[in-house]
């Protein structure tokens, strides 16, 4: 009898805390930190998070066509601004949750600075398509700043996203290329292969914006997630994955 009573009290208590669930659309480059953040968030608040990963362009198309996402963590700042203009978001909720960093990366050891770029001793240079990916735009800005754009452009291999750029370089099909720091960082340094972390002064910041979408209006779990994203704990996770916050 006492056990039953305890159970009932616990159930009521659970209802009291209003554990809710929220669906978050996440840009692919933020996959690893998001999984970590979601686990921490669920432990801390009791809410649950369902994360869907796709490129920002695809997520945009899905949101505009009725996908039930409540929060968007984009890979750029243009898409959330565009959705805001189209009244698909909750006004005033947009902010930059992280800034990405690019790495000049090679599967071979020994790359520490931009000198192999200058030497030009490579056939293919992989980068995410600048038309689609802010990380690709940053790569072009870096090459322009180093006055190497004309020489390197002829060797461009455009990847559809960061994951494919990584794949081209990891398989050796492109000797050099651009990936996100978050893809190659392991315990604070570059894990596999070798790379040069491009100084942030060589390109415009790669701002990744978050926004509360219209579908998330009034869901406490969606609000709580955006609040959690601004916490010191969340920022430490993002920093560990190679993002500037």
């Amino acid at each position: 009898m006492r056990r039953l009573l305890t159970l009932i009290i616990l159930l009521i208590a659970a209802l009291e805390t209003h554990a809710e669930s929220t669906s978050v659309a996440v840009a692919v480059n933020f996959t690893a930190p998001m999984q970590k953040l979601a686990a921490e968030f669920e432990k801390e608040t009791g809410h649950t998070v369902a994360a869907s990963f796709a490129s920002t362009g695809k997520l945009y198309a899905q949101i505009r066509n009725g996908a039930p996402f409540e929060v968007l963590l984009a890979a750029d700042d243009e898409t959330p601004a565009k959705l805001e203009k189209e009244a698909a978001t909750v006004a005033g909720s947009r902010y930059t949750y992280a800034s990405g960093r690019i790495v000049l990366w090679s599967a071979k050891p020994g790359l520490v600075d931009e000198s192999p770029l200058k030497a030009g001793d490579f056939r293919h240079f992989a980068l995410p398509n600048p038309r689609l990916a802010p990380y690709g735009v940053a790569a072009v800005e870096m090459l322009t700043a180093l006055k190497l754009i004309d020489a390197v452009q002829a060797k461009f291999v455009l990847a559809e996203n960061l994951a494919q750029s990584y794949q081209y370089i990891a398989t050796g099909n492109a000797e050099l290329g651009i990936v996100a720091l978050s893809q190659v960082i392991k315990e604070g340094r570059i894990g596999e292969g070798s790379g040069w972390i491009v100084p942030a002064t060589l390109h415009q910041p790669i701002r990744q914006d978050a926004v509360l979408l219209s579908a998330g209006r009034g869901n406490p779990a969606a609000d709580a997630f955006l609040t959690f994203l601004k916490s010191t704990k969340a920022k430490a996770v993002m920093r560990a994955y190679g993002y500037d916050v």
Partner: protein, 226 residues
């Protein structure tokens, strides 16, 4: 339509034509063998030929990237022959497309050859026709519908391929950026108007190709999916 779209269309047509010609040359003996042989290798080789029907294009693309790449076995061979490596080149796309569209050419040919049966061949032999003579003057005319089906399906399937070329192409204008990749870029870049033009064109093209296939060759109706 932009210059980029036009370049992509011309490149796609070039790729699909070349792929179809190579496939018809390669697949005619292969399909003939598959249709006539009693070898115990028939089943395993038939299964390998059909693999691209079943595998997701990303699997095919990924393995091509790895095997054709500088560290891969095929990549080692092409490099030692002084050909360089195939990914990110038009030649690489042709190789990938040939593999990807192989079953769409082999299978109609194989069925057409099998449908001829022994009768006409034996009749030709009694008239002292050489095997080559028989093949050119008896088999090829009888298998004509099979060749038409195979050529149209091989061509159309190559035009429609996406996952493989995306993986090993590297999206280089005038070299590897085909229509499907161009459409993908338009959609990803949220340029939906441009995406509609090309996509609508591709729908119309595909419909016309299939219409031609069924009009020319009623026997193919319902047998294949492009």
């Amino acid at each position: 339509m932009s210059d980029g779209d036009l370049t992509a269309i011309l490149l796609t047509l070039r790729l699909a034509s070349l792929t179809t010609v190579i496939l018809l040359v390669l697949c005619t003996p292969l399909a003939w063998w598959l249709a006539r042989t009693a070898s115990r290798w028939k089943a395993p080789i038939g299964a390998v030929v059909a693999l691209p029907l079943v595998l997701p294009p990303t699997v095919l693309g990924f393995y091509l990237l790895v095997t054709l790449g500088p560290q891969g076995p095929v990549g080692q061979i092409t490099q030692s022959l002084g050909l360089g490596v195939l990914p990110f080149s038009f030649a690489g796309l042709v190789v990938a497309s040939v593999l990807y569209s192989l079953p769409f050419v082999v299978q109609p040919l194989q069925q057409a050859f099998a449908a001829i049966g022994n009768g006409p061949l034996e009749a030709a032999a009694t008239l002292r026709a050489s095997p080559l003579d028989t093949f050119v003057h008896v088999v090829l005319p009888l298998a004509r519908p099979g060749f038409i089906t195979a050529a149209i399906l091989g061509f159309a399937h190559t035009v429609g391929e996406f996952g493989v070329v995306l993986m090993i192409g590297g999206n280089i204008p005038n070299k590897t950026r085909v229509i499907s990749v161009q459409i993908y870029d338009h959609v990803e870049a949220m340029d939906y108007a441009a995406a509609h033009w090309l996509s609508g064109g591709l729908v119309l093209f595909s419909f016309l190709v299939l219409l031609a296939l069924y009009a020319l060759n009623p026997a193919a109706r319902g047998n294949y999916r492009g």
